[in-house]
Amino acid sequence: MKKLLITIFIFPAIFFIMPSCNKKLEVLPQNSLTPDQIKTSSDVEAVLFGGYETLQNYGAFGEQFILVPDLLAADSQVNWVGTYPEYKDIEFKRAISTNYVAGTIWANAYKAIDIANTVIDKINIVDTADQATIQGEALFIRGTVYFELVGIYGKPYSDGNAATNLGVPLVLLPTYAYDSVKNKPARASVADIYKQIISDLTTAVSKLPSSNANFRADVYSAKAILSRVYLNMQDYVNAATQANDVINSGNFSLNPSYDKAFNNNANSSEDIFAIQQTTQSNAGTSNQGIVTFYAPQPLGRGDAQIDDGYFTFFDSLDFRGKFVTAGTSISGFDGNYPNKWSQFYKTIPVVRLAEMYLTRGEANLLSNGNIGSVAPIDDINIVRKRANAIAFTSAPTSADFVDERFRELGFEGDRVWTLKRLKLNVDGYNYDDGKLILPIPQTEIDVNKNLVQNDGY
């Protein structure tokens, strides 16, 4: 009887004691943090730094911002001999809307944009002394990424219909919670995206310091990208002006030899903005990353080989035409590979001083300008001389600048933009052909009915 009573008491007791276990159900994450832990100025700064990682990602400058444009203008530049059919499809202009490369670029770019938007949204938390710089860097990231996006997914600005051509969705606010209505933006026009890019980068110019620690973006990073943006808009005066500002800053100088511009452990003297990499922080070494594809076996996969037509662009003395290595791809094909991307964990130049000379020269030539008081022939020869190439003795033409940009900036993702800007055919396609831009990722169209697919997909 007594035992029974004890039992009757024990039983409910267990039920009452156990609610103290409820605390055991509140388990905090141990490998990440929750948004309410972002409270201080340095926390916001850390979010900004996360933005640099997205620029390093293989979906951005770590690979695809470079390799995809190279494949789009593959003639005389690159042959995809590798086993990833999605890259081969881009080279052959037969990509389909489920091509995962189109999805990777898009996903990473909007992550970068969300980070920038978050930093801009939380800028008031940042210590006053750092506010301008941090905001400027966030705007630099956003403007730069939108510029790449509008080029990859939208028709070129040069076709004259920028106001009606579809660009990409313009997202300027951070996402803190998912809203199934508000979070389905339509595509803004190419012109609107360009407007935002100019606004972001010019504001960045006004906020950024003239130099910044740890290779973070500074005022000249923003100006250099801005010169590209204006060049693409065929606004040659502004393009030349921005390029000239960078050249005249005195912060940068061409490396004595061309090879010194690549495979560096930190920015070289001519890097205006570059992606840093280390053994622990990089764009990928086995199935991703620019070096993985452009370096031959055994280091890389060697899927992307130099097209033989490339070599016809160079005079016999030009070092740049010899800055290559013979090797074998992972699928057993012998070929040549650019030495620009021959080592892992090195900096990836995003914009170099050499480009600024070529931009100023070409922009002056095309606008009959004299910004910087340097003749186009002198600008082009500065670049050629450094490469040991035979200097121009008579005034270069626009076509000379196109070729020179290729000689200097081959395998750096420049060629397709130059050709499209000047309405030149790309790999036999009209510069405005829908197949020269990537499809909006099919998964994105599937979840956002407000998006319209590009023609030709």
Partner: protein
């Protein structure tokens, strides 16, 4: 709770109103077989409330009414007995262990029950079903033995994860794997090894020879006592125990076997390969010329150009200067990937016995096994110690403890060039050995897996301790309290090394180390209340709580730049490229209650409820409630059937209940930032967007079942129909990437599974020659419900979960054949019309990887000392996709890979009627994913054939052993299928959406084993 109090009250009354006029009767109850005492036997007196239970020595004392005429003796697992009371005051009774399947004792959640009293759907498997099977993990052995339980091991690689689906797949994004409970302790079953390789199977740490029984809880009534973790069913594993008064038995099991691939795909030999190359040159040249692409002057110019400048250089390059024109080299690369007669050896020794007070089971085992593929081995040794000790009649302590070490030598996953599985892509004209170096040929089309096998390794060592201690206190004869505390400690060490010479080593050498630790702490505390109400009613109430806490830590380091291959661990890496530690914890706090009531031994009713709380959900929706109820009616006990000669048992069961699923990993309901590591700029990066309302995925299941027995139960079996409706699916839904995020978990959508299960066992002949036939078959139909237009697909986009179709449906272009005029592949456009333009072809749902029907068919024969068992397994209604078809059956369009012999039938000339499109590296056709490589996956397999011989007693007794059995056994001896390779493959093991894809996957093993079981 109220019901419980009522019960306690009732039993209280029973004690108060006991009769005064009584006599004392005492005695002992023993097992009729070996006279060992039986403890816990219930003795009642007909027509009175008297009640006693035997102690550990089998003795009892009962006060009965002086007018009582008989005693009723009942004990789980034994035939009930009525004994007439005479004048004597001592009475000794022996009980016969029940032979009938229906009197089997079945382990249910937090208790045991007689099979005939069970109202839920449970598959029971015994030790004999899982022992002596030449696979590391017991799940392989139960394939085809439990209807509705689909076991897919995916490949002939050893140590791989095994997918088990009980009554279909009921989730899209959350796990669909069942909960495993070993002796009351939920164990860790998720792979913890290197995430870039295939999942491994922690269940392989359980020694199959230690298993006494496996119960698979299939319906809601049986499983809902495990609430939030039971939606995918529950697998209860009970290990062997000693019996009281049992003579000590030493048992030795040893076996040795050899394995070879069960089926191979046929590839071209050197001559055929060269022939196809030459044909491709003709095809490309002709196509180019006819379409004026290059502008050749003549057809022969075109063909010669392709021959000399495209195709033959490939042959020259890869034949390493050997005379490919005359078949100087004819390498069968497929043979190079298999280890011929891969051996396996097992030794298992156990000692079991017990006295009145203490029972024990001790075992030790050692086994090593080579996979049929090179470089893949599994070895394991360990020990188990199960002990139960009666402190007094009221208090029992016990411990089940297993410790083991297993080592898995792994190969890379199917997608890696370095996996031996991809050797089949190498050219038959490539020599195996490079004549210039005498070493394995490195100048192959793809990096040679043989080279990597020489220089690389991936060794994974697991230390596993699973222990559960319990105390059981009999507070009253009708009330006991069980408290259990257990731990599952899994330590995994994985060392990976890729030498400088190998392709994966990248010319610099690479290495990594993974140290994973998972520690689960679990406690169960529950009361079992079995009041005696009256002769006609039995009540069993279980109420209690459990708490589970799992801590996981994963440490990872990797480096490169090894000076040489001499130092193979991370200390040889001169550059560390990555290191990290991740930690996570989850907790479950649960309360449960179950009451089962039996009336007149024919009306059964059971109800249960479980409340689960988990750290996996936010404070708003942390708790879930999972009730279930069931009814049973033993019709054969009714008067109108009782005298039927044919029908010996018939029970109707109906159950309905709710179970849950929360297997989506940790912290999914929060927004999260992770650490970003850009050089010199330590930062945060957003990685996850919150859904604070996230809650349990729920499955409502109805089950109607019939248990039957005919002809004195010579024919027995079960029939079940079930319907499972899962809602609030934990769906990883895509959201627009423009948010900065790819997906969030939402409770969205539903899924239905319904099906039938049928099983029958017939003892056809029961005399000197015994013949038993068992057959089971199960059908399941799955349908994805409203998922609001979400497109959820596998990583390769070939399979989908699409509304209105079964999960895991293949979604691709339909291949319609070959245009006889051009050799172009034809596909169906969205309206179904043929087109040769792949891009304008539509994509369709064209089948699924999950089967409609699965089942097993066993015939067992015994005559004198011989026994023979023949077991067939079959699946139908599923499709298998050869995802490597676009490389091995593409007519060189995607590369110069060796081709399947099917390519010999490829289109050559206008008018050719064939199903294989035009070959050609430039202008071939049909090389993109389509139903061209989708096959019927139906197969019938002679899964196991075992012939045993029991050495006669006369011989064994002279050898001083009590019994000895010698056997030979074969696994996967015959396969009937339309698939050109092994149909039992899946490169994506353990995924709900992806399955049935063969991508250079290693086929299943065909194994011959000889073994010996000896008892001393």
């Amino acid at each position: 709770m109220r019901k419980l109090l009522l019960c306690i009250g009732l039993s209280l009354c029973t004690f108060v109103f006991a009769f005064a006029q009584t006599i004392d009767l005492s005695g002992k109850i023993t097992d009729a077989k070996d006279n060992s005492p039986l403890s816990g036997v219930t003795i009642t007196s007909k027509g009175s409330k008297a009640h006693a239970i035997t102690g550990t020595d089998g003795s009892f004392t009962i006060k009965i009414n002086s007018k009582a005429k008989s005693l009723h003796i009942s004990y789980i697992g034994y035939d009930e007995k009525d004994v007439v009371v005479g004048t004597e005051s001592t009475i000794n009774i022996s009980l016969q262990a029940s032979q009938k399947a229906l009197n089997e004792v079945v382990v249910v959640g937090y208790g045991k029950a007689l099979k005939k009293d069970i109202t839920g759907s449970i598959s029971n498997l015994a030790a004999k079903d899982v022992e002596n099977f030449p696979e590391p993990s017991f799940e392989s052995a139960i394939q085809g033995k439990a209807p509705g339980v689909v076991v897919s091991s995916g490949s002939g690689k050893l140590g791989q994860a095994i997918q088990i689906n009980i009554r279909g797949i009921s989730s899209i994004s959350a796990s669909s794997q069942p909960l495993y409970v070993v002796d009351g302790l939920p164990i860790t079953t998720a792979s913890m090894s290197d995430g870039t390789n295939d999942n491994t199977n922690p269940v392989a740490d359980i020694n199959p020879d230690d298993i006494e029984s496996v119960q698979i809880l299939k319906d809601a009534s049986a499983a809902a006592i495990y609430g939030a973790r039971a939606a995918n069913g529950v697998v209860l594993i009970t290990t062997k125990k000693g019996k009281a008064g049992q003579k000590t038995i030493v048992e030795l099991n040893t076996s040795h076997g050899v394995s070879n691939p069960a089926r191979k795909i046929h590839f071209l030999n050197a001559k055929q390969y060269v022939g196809l190359i030459e044909q491709s040159a003709i095809n490309d040249g002709t196509y180019d010329f006819n379409n004026g692409i290059t502008g050749y002057g003549s057809l022969s110019d075109a063909v010669t150009d392709f021959q000399t400048n495209v195709y033959e250089p490939v042959l020259d390059q890869f034949s390493l200067g050997t005379d490919w024109r005359n078949g100087a080299v004819n390498t069968n690369w497929q043979n190079a990937l298999f280890e011929k007669n891969a051996p396996n050896n097992q030794v298992n020794v156990s000692v079991t016995g017990g006295s009145d007070k203490t029972r024990f089971f001790i075992s030790g085992f050692y086994n090593t096994q080579d996979a049929i593929v090179i470089n893949n081995k599994f070895s394991r040794y360990g020990t188990r110690f199960n002990i139960d000790h009666n402190v007094s009649d009221k208090l029992v302590f016990g411990l089940n403890l297993a410790v083991d070490r297993s080592q898995l030598n792994r190969i890379t996953n199917d997608d890696a060039f370095s996996t031996p599985g991809q050797l089949v892509a190498q050219l038959p004209i490539s020599p195996l050995i490079d004549p210039s170096t005498g070493l394995p040929n490195k100048q192959t089309l793809y990096p040679s897996g043989i080279y990597d096998a020489l220089y690389d390794f991936d060794h994974q060592v697991t230390f596993r301790t699973i222990g559960n201690a319990y105390a059981n206190l009999k507070i009253l004869p009708s009330l006991s309290f069980q408290s259990e505390i257990g731990a599952d400690i899994l330590n995994l060490n994985e060392n990976e090394f890729e030498g400088k010479e190998s392709q994966d080593g990248g010319g610099v050498g690479r290495g990594s180390t993974v140290i994973s630790q998972s520690v689960s702490l679990n406690t169960n505390n529950y009361f079992t209340f079995t009041p005696r109400i009256n002769d006609d009613s039995k009540l069993n109430v279980v109420a209690g709580m459990s708490y589970l806490q799992n801590d996981y830590q994963h440490t990872f380091g990797q480096g490169e730049q090894y000076p040489s291959d001499a130092v193979k661990n991370l200390s040889g890496a001169t550059s560390i490229t990555g290191a990290s530690t991740t930690n996570s914890r989850y907790t479950f706090l649960s309360y449960f209650l179950r009451a089962s009531y039996t009336f007149h031994d024919k009306y059964l009713i059971s109800a249960s409820d479980r409340i689960d709380g988990s750290s996996r959900f936010g404070p708003q929706s942390r708790y879930g409630n999972f009730p279930a109820a069931s009814l049973g009616w033993i019709l054969s006990e009714e008067n109108f059937l009782k005298d039927s000669r044919a029908l010996s048992f018939l029970k109707l069961r109906v159950s309905y209940g709710l179970t849950g699923n929360s297997e989506i990993g940790e912290q999914q309901f929060r927004s999260l930032y992770s650490v970003a590591n850009y050089p010199n700029l330590p930062g945060f990066t957003p990685t996850q967007l919150a859904n604070p309302d996230l809650k349990w995925e729920k499955s409502k299941q109805t089950d109607i079942g019939l248990d039957y027995g005919f002809l004195k139960n010579r024919i027995t079996g079960e029939i079940d129909y079930y319907k499972k409706h899962s809602t609030d699916l934990l769906l990883n839904t895509n959201i627009p990437l423009t948010t900065g995020y790819a997906s969030i978990y939402q409770n969205l959508g539903s899924m239905d599974n319904s099906g039938y299960e049928f099983s029958i066992t017939s003892r056809n002949l029961d005399g000197g020659f015994k013949w038993t036939t068992s057959f089971n078959i199960a059908y399941n139909k799955n349908k994805v419900g409203n998922i609001q237009g979400q497109i959820i697909q596998s990583a390769d986009a070939l399979l989908r979960a699409q509304q209105g179709s079964p999960i895991g449906s293949f979604y691709m272009q339909k291949f319609l054949g070959v245009d006889p005029q051009t050799g172009d592949a034809l596909y169906a456009d969205p309206t179904g019309k043929p087109t040769n333009d792949y891009e304008s072809a539509g994509r369709f749902i064209v089948g699924k990887y999950t089967p409609d029907f699965t089942g097993g068919f066993t015939n067992s024969f015994a005559w004198k000392g011989f026994d023979l068992s023949v077991f067939f397994y079959f699946v139908t209604g599923n499709k298998v996709y050869n995802a490597a078809g676009r490389f091995m059956d593409d007519g060189f369009y995607n590369g110069f890979d060796n081709q399947m012999t099917e390519e010999l039938n490829s289109w050559k000339n206008p008018g050719d009627k064939t199903n294989v499109p035009r070959a050609g590296y430039y202008y071939g056709s049909g090389a993109s994913n389509s139903t061209r490589w989708l096959y019927k996956g139906d197969y019938l397999r002679l899964k196991n054939l075992t012939l045993g011989y029991n050495i006669p007693k006369s011989v064994t007794s002279s050898l001083k052993i009590s019994s000895a059995r010698f056997y030979v056994s074969g696994v996967n001896l015959l396969t009937f299928t339309k698939y050109p390779g092994d149909p039992e493959v899946n490169t994506n093991v353990v995924s709900n959406i992806a399955g049935g894809e063969d991508f250079y996957t290693i086929p299943q093993a065909k194994t011959f084993t000889v073994g010996l079981n000896v008892k001393f």
